[in-house]
């Protein structure tokens, strides 16, 4: 296996403000794999943690926890996974200490840079404006000691031709190039040491379609020629669908679905993937699913499945908490059931799983819930309403946290619908 991430987690600590400290849970508990010469797409919306994941895999930022196992033999990876499910910390530690790039020292990591690199989204800020193209492309070779001096210079000319630019571009400065040409230079830089793993972070989203098509074709050719494993991070599902062999779909810091491209695009399983694919403009397969709301704030993500507040297929145990349900209940009681809540009374969440509807009768509240359950999905999590101290006491079901469930042909889905009981 070229690279495999296990339980990879990154929380960015917030510096204390007025509201106290917290952490942005950018990536939580993610497993991904890239094989030699494979193109793996990572799709997700902004804030889904896909860019952070790319940087974690390259060791550009240190994870909060979890391992990135680089160039690990299949059988050892299998052994690691077995040890993980058996909770055998010792074996895991043994393997990780040898293969995980998170355990490597600064110098070891720098030596690894020859074998992995990254290409960035913004063609304008990813090239130093005061360097010539030649120096830009040479940088990885010189820094890692791959090639130096005239040999490196010669190689720059070859690389320029490889990415479809004339040799004379070596003497130019970035501002003299168009966006597409800059991205070619960036690509030449990232493949200059013939790495075996490359992370592409939105390589074409700043480009026009005509330039995008050229870069994508070029990337495919480069992959064929040098057998580089590519991790393609993008928000554009069509691009992923054109490029990748396998796809991971990320939402709010978690991988919600992963598997071979063709089967995911034609038969998405996770409700988020379904909505995401149906939201692609011009897509005519199946009815369009319009999601309500927007991705959550990752300082305090929803409990249970992160997607549950927007999920059209949400169930009773997907992660509803008293706060969410109380809000919707109060909205109903003040609007559609106006009159049921007395002046000055409130709907108060008590703890994570109990709500007190002040001054209301259990019977009435039960009726509201029965009537609205179909439309207001959060109410489904209520399993009991009884008379409480000063009103009706509403009790919620305890939620489950979805794991990764294998479905078919190498596919994994993180959704309770697919949990086998």
């Amino acid at each position: 296996m070229l690279i495999a991430a296990r339980n990879l987690t990154k929380f960015f600590e917030l510096r204390g403000g007025l509201t106290g400290k917290g952490a942005v849970q950018a990536v939580s508990d993610v497993d991904v794999e890239v094989r030699e010469g494979e193109i793996v797409g990572v799709v997700g919306e902004s804030g889904s943690g896909k860019s952070t994941l790319g940087r974690l895999l390259l060791g550009l930022i240190a994870p909060t926890s979890g391992e990135v196992l680089f160039d690990i033999p299949e059988e050892l990876l299998q052994k690691y996974d077995e040890a993980r499910s058996a909770n055998d910390k010792k074996t895991m530690e043994e393997i990780a200490s040898k293969y995980s790039i998170t355990r490597k020292s600064g110098r070891e990591l720098r030596a690894l840079r020859r074998r992995m690199n990254m290409m960035f989204q913004d063609p304008y800020s990813s090239l130093n404006p005061r360097w010539r193209v030649e120096d830009i492309i040479m940088e990885p070779m010189v820094s890692t000691g791959y090639l130096t001096g005239n040999e490196a210079r010669k190689r720059v000319r070859e690389l320029l031709e490889e990415v479809g630019l004339p040799r004379e571009f070596a003497y130019r400065y970035p501002h003299e190039l168009s966006g597409g040409q800059r991205q070619r230079v960036a690509l030449a830089r990232s493949i200059s040491t013939l790495p075996s793993f490359l992370v592409l972070d939105e390589p074409t989203s700043a480009l026009d379609v005509s330039a995008q098509a050229q870069i994508l074709q070029l990337l495919k050719r480069i992959r064929e020629r040098f057998r580089i494993g590519l991790l393609l991070i993008t928000h554009n599902i069509a691009v992923v669908s054109y490029m990748s062999d396998r796809i991971y779909v990320m939402y709010a810091g978690k991988v919600v679905e992963g598997g071979p491209k063709t089967s995911i695009i034609s038969k998405p399983q996770h409700p988020y993937t379904v909505a995401l694919i149906s939201a692609v403009p011009g897509n005519s397969r199946g009815p369009r699913v319009i999601l309500r709301g927007e991705p959550p704030n990752l300082v305090d993500p929803p409990k249970g499945c992160h997607f549950h507040p927007r999920c059209p297929m949400v169930m009773d145990n997907c992660g509803w908490t008293a706060k969410e349900v109380a809000e919707e209940l109060e909205f109903l009681l003040r609007g559609r059931y106006y009159g049921m809540l007395k002046e000055g009374s409130k709907v108060v969440p008590q703890g994570e799983l109990e709500i007190l509807v002040e001054g209301a009768k259990a019977e009435e509240v039960r009726k509201v819930i029965e009537e609205e359950k179909e439309e207001v999905k959060s109410l489904r999590s209520i399993y009991e309403v009884r008379e409480g101290n000063g009103g009706a006491l509403v009790k919620l079901m305890r939620y489950d946290i979805p794991g990764m469930y294998r479905t078919d042909e190498g596919r994994e889905v993180s959704c309770l619908i697919y949990r086998k009981t």
């Binding site: 550009l60 960035f120 913004d122 800020s125 005061r130 940088e139 004379e168 400065y173 003299e176």
Partner: protein, 298 residues
């Protein structure tokens, strides 16, 4: 390949031409540049070819105790004379060299220390950053003139020591400025790309960040040259630097102070020489800023 290369050199030449045309479209900057050039030429001549200006004693003031009372401007003394019988015109010619030299020394030394510390503190972050910035805070909390006086007093009140003292109070401005610039450049993706390419901290700091920090620092340097001349003359004027016979603009102005009511030119001409330089340097700085600001280029 070589012909191609020269073609792109030509491209680059066009680029420089646009820069120049931006600079020259700012009339104030052109006037400033002309004045600054006059000062620089004067300083160089005094330093290397004093004969060309007809100066016999280029590095000292020549007094005339026979007739020490200031004389008004006349054909033989275009700017008049000051106490004790010193010809103002030739003295100002000599003084420009001294002031320009010290000002350059102060600003360049201050800028060098400040920029290096600023870039390091931005790049290292954490405790280093905190430490450097708190030191600059201390410097900022005391008026720089007072601080320079104090340091000068400790080092000994000579012209050279005073220049050193000013350089010591001058670097924090550059440290702050360079740090701010470096912090914004550190966020650019090419820095991350360099790290992904295996470049070490030193290379990133000095090959990637520093070259991008420098241009705005140059503008600041050009603006500060004038300010330092001003500060330097103020110190000499108030008599802090006992510099018998060294031609220095502030000292020159202070010589005629007792006669200012009857002989205003004794203060006016050296003062004007200082002000004109400070003004001209500021105008040039503005022009440079235009050149560097891509928004003003179009």
């Amino acid at each position: 390949m070589e012909t191609q290369k020269t073609e792109y050199e030509a491209d680059r030449f066009r680029e420089i031409k646009t820069s120049l045309s931006v600079f020259f479209s700012n009339k104030g900057a052109v006037v400033g540049l002309v004045i600054v050039l006059v000062y620089v030429v004067d300083a160089l001549l005094v330093q290397f070819f004093p004969q060309a200006l007809g100066l016999k004693h280029p590095y000292t003031l020549v007094s005339n105790y026979v007739n020490p009372v200031p004389q008004p401007p006349s054909a033989s003394y275009p700017f008049g004379t000051t106490f004790p019988g010193v010809d103002l015109f030739t003295s100002i010619l000599k003084a420009v060299r001294v002031d320009l030299g010290y000002s350059l020394f102060v600003v360049l030394l201050g800028a060098f220390i400040g920029t290096v510390l600023g870039v390091i503190s931005a790049f290292a972050g954490g405790i280093v950053d905190e430490f450097v910035m708190r030191i600059t805070d201390i410097f900022f909390s005391i008026p720089y003139l007072v601080l320079a006086l104090a340091i000068g007093f400790v080092l000994g009140r000579t012209l050279d020591n005073m220049a050193l003292a000013l350089a010591i109070v001058w670097w924090p401005i550059y440290a702050r400025y360079a740090r701010g610039q470096a912090l914004s450049i550190k966020e650019m993706t090419f820095v991350e790309a360099a790290r992904a390419s295996g470049s070490g901290g030193g290379k990133i700091m000095f090959r990637h960040i520093l070259p991008n920090v420098l241009p705005p620092i140059f503008v600041q340097i050009s603006l500060d040259l004038g300010t330092v001349v001003l500060v330097f003359s103020v110190l000499a004027f108030i008599g802090f630097i006992p510099n018998a016979n060294v031609p220095e603009l502030g000292y020159l102005a202070s010589l005629g102070l007792n006669y200012v009511a009857t002989a205003p030119w004794t203060v006016l001409f050296p003062g004007a020489a200082i002000t004109l330089f400070a003004l001209a340097v500021n105008l040039v700085g503005d022009g440079l800023r235009d050149v560097l600001d891509p928004r003003r280029r179009s």
